[in-house]
Symmetry: C2
Subunit: 150 residues, 2 copies
DNA sequence: TATTGTTATACTCTATAACTATA
DNA sequence: TATAGTTATAGAGTATAACAATA
């Protein structure tokens, strides 16, 4: 088995485990990704967020609806251009994001538990090089597209 | 970004590129996977293959149908237990598999082009260790489940 | 009665594209 | 006229479960 296959296999495995973990917070990976994106760049327009997530706007709307109904996210109209709906985290969204972080760290530790600290650094460095080489930007990756919202 | 996320991102990227490449042979990744599985263990029952692919039998049947219509695969009834339909590669299936191999090698070379030979060996070793640690068996990985047949 | 393979059905998910409002 | 957001709809893909043949 080559590196390409191992990456696809381990990546799929990692994504599956992550989905299981965030399900404990009643979240799907794309929902977790949206929370993180809003933390990093609050006030983004829906259009821009949908683009980043690789989601068509028609799917993004109900996706945000459920998050807003749960009080995690808030739509605010941009007064300068009233066509734009800027998205913000609510306090509940912030605190859920705080619960998310230790979960992600446990996920990381679990997945790499077989590696020594030195090996971990090696692996991380190599993967970062490859990701940069392929112009994969940090953020929510396209594989998350297919995970269904609840 | 941690290793888990990088794996998911790179794995998804690798799977996507592989899907594009095999599309040149009018194959999807699960179809390519079935060809490989039949090369390795010819005469498997449909049930066993469906299990390995993580596909429910109801989806596996039309999946095999299209492969059989294209003359790549052949159903033979097991005379000892006439419930079983054993699957075999046809000659056309074998020769398509021969076309598949160089394609997979090009995919591997492309994805890892930024690594030195020494780094490539390091990465491969670390990924193999992780895969073994997580009991990921060689073969077609579950992420292929979601790729649609044509 | 259990198992393999098959078929049918009902359901979910999705994209396309029409529509509204703002610009 | 163009763009952000929304809604409606039709189509594809899926799993569940009923079914037939064989054991």
């Amino acid at each position: 088995m080559g590196v390409a296959f191992l990456l696809a296999q381990l990546g799929s495995h990692a994504a599956g485990l992550f989905a299981e973990r965030v399900a404990a917070l009643d979240l799907t990976p794309p929902q977790a990704g949206l929370l993180r994106m809003l933390k990093g760049s609050p006030g983004c327009s829906q259009r821009e967020l949908a683009d980043r997530l690789g989601m068509p706007p028609s799917r993004f709307v109900p996706f945000v609806d459920t998050m807003e109904e749960r009080g995690l996210v808030e739509r605010r109209r941009n007064p300068d251009d009233r066509r734009l709906h800027a998205l913000y985290l609510t306090e509940a969204g912030e605190s859920l994001l705080d619960e998310l972080r230790p979960l992600a760290m446990a996920h990381e530790a679990d997945l790499t538990s077989t590696l020594s600290p030195e090996e971990y650094r090696q692996l991380k460095g190599l993967l970062q090089r490859m990701a940069a080489d392929k112009n994969l930007t940090p953020g929510v990756h396209p594989g998350f597209r297919s995970v269904r919202p609840r």
